[in-house]
């Protein structure tokens, strides 16, 4: 199990990748929320990279989607990419994968923007 961590990587002007490592649940949701909030203040596009996110539950998904909705209201774009198997499964069962929200790769996420 990877310990929880949030990484950031600039992708270009006002474009940021946020990498979630470990497990995204209620125990860390406030940290993620705060980090997304400050990232949203300084960017127009955010890609949340989930390649090292080993676990998510509905609270974790809600944290990402509520940020996405708030960002969209001021024309920001937040998408997810590279979900691990458990994350992909929970997103699919929740009916959240046919939206323009989840992408296989960072490239795919960016090319749609």
């Amino acid at each position: 199990m990877k310990p929880f961590a949030i990484g950031e990587r600039e992708l270009g002007p006002r474009r940021l990748a946020i990498e979630i490592r470990g497990e995204l649940d209620m125990a860390v949701a406030d940290q993620v929320k705060a980090r997304l909030r400050s990232a949203m203040a300084e960017n127009d596009e955010i890609v949340v990279v989930l390649a090292d996110c080993e676990f998510i539950d509905s609270t974790g998904i809600a944290t990402l989607l509520l940020a996405r909705n708030a960002f969209a209201e001021r024309d920001g774009r937040l998408v997810l990419c590279e979900p691990t198997e458990q994350v992909q499964r929970v997103l699919a069962i929740s009916g959240l994968t046919n939206d323009e929200v989840v992408f296989d790769s960072l490239e795919a996420a960016l090319s749609r923007s």
Binding site: D25, F55, T59, A62, Q86, A92, I93, T97
Partner: protein, 135 residues
């Protein structure tokens, strides 16, 4: 297992349940499903059961192997299932995910006395539901 119903209890319970399940030779998918349903049930206890009380009450978890499945019971001694108009926004996916990722579950709620959910997860994991396969 009995812990105070606080957010940090949720990963602790997942870890504990994972250790038990691995000893039973659970599949990767079964383990993923088990962790998800346990996380949803415990989150509900932390978020709703003792809302408005000064101290977090107990979160109780029991784990029992049953044939080709594991049975997990998550229990609280809180308010019972009730509307929570002041709660943070949620996706309302907790019980639906528990239903989709288990073979069966039984939720018992007693008003003012608490909630218990008994969840059965096959060691092999659930197949994908039709609407995911179709997509």
């Amino acid at each position: 297992m009995r812990l105070p119903a606080r957010p940090e209890a949720i990963p602790t319970v997942r870890r504990e349940v994972e250790l038990h399940a691995l000893r039973l030779g659970i599949s990767d998918r079964g383990l993923a499903d088990l962790k998800t349903v346990v996380s949803e049930a415990c989150t509900n206890v932390v978020r709703y059961a003792y809302e408005g009380e000064e101290e977090a009450g107990p979160l109780e978890v029991e784990f029992t192997p049953v044939a080709d499945s594991v049975k997990v019971v998550v229990r609280d001694h809180g308010c019972g299932i009730a509307p929570k108009p002041d709660a943070d926004p949620s996706l309302h996916m907790g019980l639906p995910l528990i239903g989709a990722l288990s073979s069966r579950f039984v939720l018992s709620s007693e008003r003012g006395a608490g909630t218990e959910v008994e969840i059965h997860v096959p060691l092999a994991g659930q197949p994908e539901p039709a609407w995911v396969v179709d997509a």
